[in-house]
């Protein structure tokens, strides 16, 4: 039950077998050079013929007021249900709020957004409240008192995402109800104030869950063409069409760096080292977390800039221009890191949701279900899936970066200019496999 408590303890998967890690790393390396050597030489994903296939029927459905209303109402009902458990429930680990927060919300964002695109945006309770206030006041929910400063970009989300990973991975009392409630209250309050000031544009740039979800949703097949119609298209095209905004690299660095740190923290050597310290464990862990995030961001930025550029092109724009290609790597690694936690913790959440106030109730009829540990009993399948997740993420990332490089770099730098990026991406992937192997 306690295995959601990231702090100490918690059951986890067996380390990746060495030969799996080696095979994954070799595959990543080989495929990277195949892409570099053999892939197309003119940018593809920005061509109009890659816009995607319009799906007018599904488009009409998902854009209809009633459908949006129903999805929003379901999302809000779930929020109220869980909030009631958080406010009136007991401070026990059988309170469903912990599993909902750490597993369903945080990890569930990834599969939900891969399947449905920017999922959180459609169900976001803070957007719903903002919408309700705007309706009452007769104002436009998308606009606030001020215009959101474009130069801030995703930087606020990098901060709020950091606040989340700090709470999840460092803060020692993250499995107690009071602190969790406080974190969520501050989150909702900050989002409402931001919504009042800047409208829902603020949520698009500052809500940690929405930004994470929209980012991952770029790897779904759902997109919008220039006319705003719903289309089905290659996820790589979707990813390429993501607007480049300031802070995107920071957001990716927080997400990838923190997940890598989570693996690292579970390694036996680190556990024994931190337990041997007399004090300051949390400070040491916090510094390591920041170190991972900064290392990911810096390595990527330097790799993006180590190329020749055309005259008049600002080299410092390159890290942002390539940041989208970090998304598949972080999604692949997140899948590998969280797969069994999501499958088994998600079932636990479903079971606990039947009894929000720890009174022995069975409101949803799920209270007597038992967790299916099939995945844990099949470590070979689990390990294979993890390696596949990491390698597929890597390949998608390399292809995304390749297409961007030949679009942005002058012809004579196109091949050599990609080498540093390739080296760093292989480094991230091998590093990730190494963490899964040694933790």
């Amino acid at each position: 039950m306690d295995y959601l408590a990231h702090g100490v303890g918690g059951a986890k998967d067996l380390p990746l077998p060495a030969e799996y890690a080696v095979a994954g790393a070799s595959a990543a390396l080989a495929i990277s050079f195949i892409v570099l050597a053999l892939a197309w030489r003119t940018p593809r994903f920005r061509k109009p013929e890659y816009d995607g296939t319009p799906v007018p029927r599904i488009g009409a459905l998902v854009d209809s007021t009633w459908f949006r209303g129903v999805v929003r109402a379901l999302g809000f009902a779930f929020f109220v249900y869980v909030a009631a458990a958080a406010v009136f429930g007991k401070d026990l680990l059988i309170n469903p709020v912990f599993y909902v927060f750490y597993v369903v919300l945080w990890v569930g964002i990834v599969p939900a957004s891969l399947l449905f695109g920017p999922f959180y945006k459609a169900v976001s309770p803070v957007r719903t409240i903002n919408l309700g206030i705007a309706r009452l006041a007769g104002t436009d929910p998308d606009r606030g008192l001020f215009t959101y400063p474009a130069r801030l970009g995703y930087w606020p989300a990098a901060l709020t995402l950091f606040a989340f990973v700090w709470f999840e991975l460092i803060y020692p009392f993250n499995a107690e109800l009071g602190p969790l409630r406080l974190w969520c209250a501050v989150y909702v309050a900050a989002m409402l104030v931001g919504g009042a000031l800047f409208g829902s544009t603020f949520h698009e740039h500052a809500d940690p869950f929405e930004v994470f979800s929209t980012l991952v949703g770029r790897l779904s097949v759902w997109g919008r063409n220039a006319a705003g119609d719903l289309v089905v298209r290659n996820p790589l095209v979707n990813l390429d069409r993501m607007p480049t905004r300031p802070g995107l690299l920071a957001v990716c660095a927080v997400l990838l760096g923190s997940t890598a740190f989570d693996s690292f923290k579970e390694a036996n050597t680190w556990l024994r080292f931190t337990q041997g310290l007399d004090s300051g464990i949390n400070t040491v862990n916090l510094l390591a977390l920041i170190g991972f995030i900064v290392a990911v961001g810096l390595l990527f930025a330097v790799a993006a800039m180590l190329t020749g550029v055309a005259d008049g092109y600002r080299r410092t724009a390159l890290p942002g221009d390539f940041a989208h290609s970090l998304v598949p790597i972080l999604v692949g690694y997140t899948v590998a890191h969280y797969l069994s936690y999501f499958v088994e913790g998600g079932q636990q959440a479903l079971i606990l949701l039947s009894d929000p106030f720890s009174t022995g109730a069975n409101l949803l009829g799920t209270a007597n279900w038992e967790i299916n540990y099939w995945l844990s009993y099949h470590p070979t399948f689990l390990a294979t899936t993890k390696v596949l997740g990491v390698v597929i993420g890597h390949v998608v990332a390399v292809v995304a970066a390749h297409d961007r490089a030949i679009a942005l770099l002058p012809r004579r730098h196109q091949l050599t200019g990609q080498l540093s990026m390739l080296v760093v991406m292989v480094g991230f992937t091998v590093g990730g496999l190494l963490l899964l192997f040694s933790s």
Partner: protein, 124 residues
């Protein structure tokens, strides 16, 4: 195809060959851990100190494991195992407990009173 192109293709082929060697060379399904399988260990608790300080030991699935505890106070070790959590309650002094693991995984044995991990079981 240019010359540099051809040499990169050669490089790729070499890498693919390397990959096959790496993938096919070592068979089996041994997990990444290197520790030797043991069937008993002693946990020593004195004051704030828990030995062997979170050490990871390899344990065989389904086989009885003898956990010896030598503690200056009574207490509990929680083993975060799948599919069931285990609680090992002990008295002050020396005690012996037999436990059996069903599912594979890494399962820490933790003393909540100390907020420390005494051991990690690597169950194969």
């Amino acid at each position: 195809m240019s010359r540099s192109h051809r040499s990169s293709v050669g490089l790729v082929l070499a890498l693919v060959a390397l990959l096959c060697l790496a993938a096919c060379g070592s068979g089996g399904d041994s997990p990444g851990g290197t520790s030797e399988v043991v069937d008993t260990i002693t946990v020593t608790i004195s004051g704030d100190d828990i030995e062997p300080n979170g050490k990871r030991i390899a344990v065989e699935r389904g086989a009885p494991f003898l956990l010896k505890i030598d503690s200056d106070v009574a207490g509990e070790l929680h083993i975060h195992a799948k599919p069931q959590e285990m609680t090992v309650a002990f008295e002050a002094g020396q005690s012996e407990h037999t436990i059996t693991f069903d599912a594979p995984g890494i399962f820490p044995a933790e003393s909540h009173a100390h907020n420390k991990v005494a051991l990690q079981f690597e169950v194969r």
